[in-house]
């Protein structure tokens, strides 16, 4: 597949054109908090050297709250009504590679055996154009889990900021190729050797650990004193899991309803919340924050790998940056690596 050059101005024109075609265009919001569907190209915030937004973009594939179906009920019976079909096409522009990489990771859990078409449909309807990352801080660790600042997993195309202010557009998938062929008037021909990226102000992430070694330790040490102190200061909020691009636990509840009508919702939930595993009888298999924190680490770096040969993490560091009590997942991995 062919690569291209696109100027910053043409990105704007392309985006407005895409919006005109009735697509949504989603990019990081200027506040740095979340991803937003923009109304005009002027709202675009494509910055390769910015800190990852506080929330990942998983909300657009796996919404924080989503109706699964609606019911109408009377004494004569019940009728189930499908939620509105997921048809909107969406262009994701300027996502970090660590954000895009979460999509195929989540696809695995949403598709082993039973297929969650709510998730699949959204992925199917999306074109993800990521931006080579020129950022790192004390909490990033993409390079320790097999990704990098230019990892292509989950991206349909990837932009790389060039020294002359334009972008090198590398097409990754057929879907990306088809998409950009529709907008070829904004693209200039190029070849791989024309790719002259800007120099990153930031070095590669400083956090380094050997995931294979960490996995080996986790395999053998479900019980270990190490866990005891970890949960000590954790306040048991769900921040780390909610900002995470790969955490996918959810709850199913009937809400916003009365006897006659209502909906069944699929809502983000968190293994860090104390009620998550609590049985109606009162018994709670994970009855302390230490156990709940261990679950998070084990799920990400062992259980998921056991099942899907992949870690449930993209090294974006959001959980650590946002943690109110400074629990540092990369730091924990480094400590495990040194055991």
């Amino acid at each position: 597949m062919k690569d291209y050059i696109i100027t910053a101005e043409n990105i704007q024109l392309l985006v407005n054109d895409v919006l005109k075609q009735g697509w949504d265009v989603v990019s990081e919001s200027k506040t740095g908090v979340n991803f937003n569907a923009i109304k005009d190209a002027s709202e675009l915030a494509i910055k390769s050297d910015s800190k990852p937004s506080k929330l990942s973009m998983k909300d657009f594939f796996f919404p924080k709250t989503e109706p699964l179906f609606f019911y109408r009920q009377s004494h004569d019976g019940v009728e189930l009504v499908d939620a509105s079909p997921i048809e909107k096409k969406t262009l994701f522009l300027g996502a970090k590679p660590c954000d895009a990489a979460a999509i195929p990771v989540l696809s695995k859990v949403f598709n082993w055996d039973y297929k969650d078409e709510f998730y699949n449909k959204r992925v199917e309807n999306s074109v993800v154009v990521s931006l080579k990352c020129n950022y790192s801080d004390d909490y990033c660790f993409c390079t320790s889990i097999g990704l990098s600042q230019k990892a292509e997993q989950g991206s349909d195309a990837m932009l790389t900021e060039q020294q002359d202010g334009s972008y090198f557009l590398h097409i990754v998938t057929e879907k990306g190729d088809e998409f950009f062929k529709m907008y070829s008037q904004y693209l200039k021909d190029t070849q791989a050797e024309n790719n002259k990226p800007v120099e990153s102000k930031y070095p590669e992430p400083a956090v380094k650990f050997d995931q294979g070694k960490v996995k080996g330790w986790l395999d053998a040490n479900f019980e270990h004193d190490f866990w005891n102190n970890l949960g000590d200061v954790c306040l048991g909020c769900g921040q780390c899991t909610f900002v995470c691009p790969t955490c996918h636990c959810f709850d199913i509840v009937d809400e916003n309803c009365n006897y006659h009508e209502g909906g069944r919702m699929k809502n983000w939930d968190s293994c860090q919340l104390c009620l998550f595993t609590k049985h109606a009888s009162g018994h709670n298999p994970r009855d302390g924050q230490t156990k709940r924190y261990r679950q998070r680490i084990q799920h990400k770096f062992k259980y998921y790998e056991d099942k899907f040969n992949e870690v449930l993490c993209t090294g974006c560091g959001r959980c650590t940056r946002g943690c109110g009590v400074g629990i540092d997942i990369g730091g924990i991995m480094e400590r495990i690596d040194k055991f």
Binding site: L80, D82, F110, F222, E223, D254, R264, K278, A280, Q295
Partner: protein, 277 residues
Amino acid sequence: MENIYKPDLAEVKEIIDETADTRTLRLQFKDPEVHKAFSFKAGQFGEYSVFGEGECTFCIASPPTRMEYIECTFKLVGKVTNALRKLNVGDTIGLRGPYGNSFPLEQMKGKNIVFISGGIGLAPVRCITWNVLDLRNEFKDITIVYGARRVEDLVYKNELEQWKAMKDVKTYITVDPGGETPDWKGEVGFVPSIVEKVAPSGENSIAIICGPPIMIKFTMPVLQKLGFKEENIITTLENRMKCGLGKCGRCNVGNVYVCKDGPVFNYTQMKALPDEY
């Protein structure tokens, strides 16, 4: 778009009060075609829902050999079970499933089977018991040990009588000491000690055991003393579930999803699990 979370509609055909707080619902899918197409194996579970209240997970308590009704038995513990209790005959509920693995029926054939259960733990055991009894010739000796705290806590009372009346089944019904009534004719004692007294041989045998953790804990050494191999002691795990589909991340014990890899586990598998259930 296929929607794995959307249940089929089923009608409550009959309500049976087992004890003061435990009830069985006999269900039929509203759509006869759906009912005809529905098949499951003993040990699998379903997600039952009351619209506006939510979903709840129970094993299918009726056997796959008797498909006229799908039955579930539940104890009043929380929001959804409370709503399920308010249902009348003719009301509609949602049902999706079957989910999870099942008891190893094929592997059980040609062997002696011992069914051990306590309290509402009889629900999954009842399913496999009838399944086995309906195919009686394919199994050797059958022993049933069931116990509850008090006489009034015994579930499926009619069926217990039917089992007792069967000549080719040894049935022992027990209540905890102090739980007997003046006219109680069954055993008195905890389930582990009744199993010890009955002493079924572990030779060419499979034990199916479900009930309170404390009962399982004290019955295990008895079974091992009787010569049951660990892989031939089979139980079901209950963990809080929501989706039943291996997605919502709630029921895992270590890297095992109870909803997909379970709920049926043998004792060898159980021992490999971390203590989080």
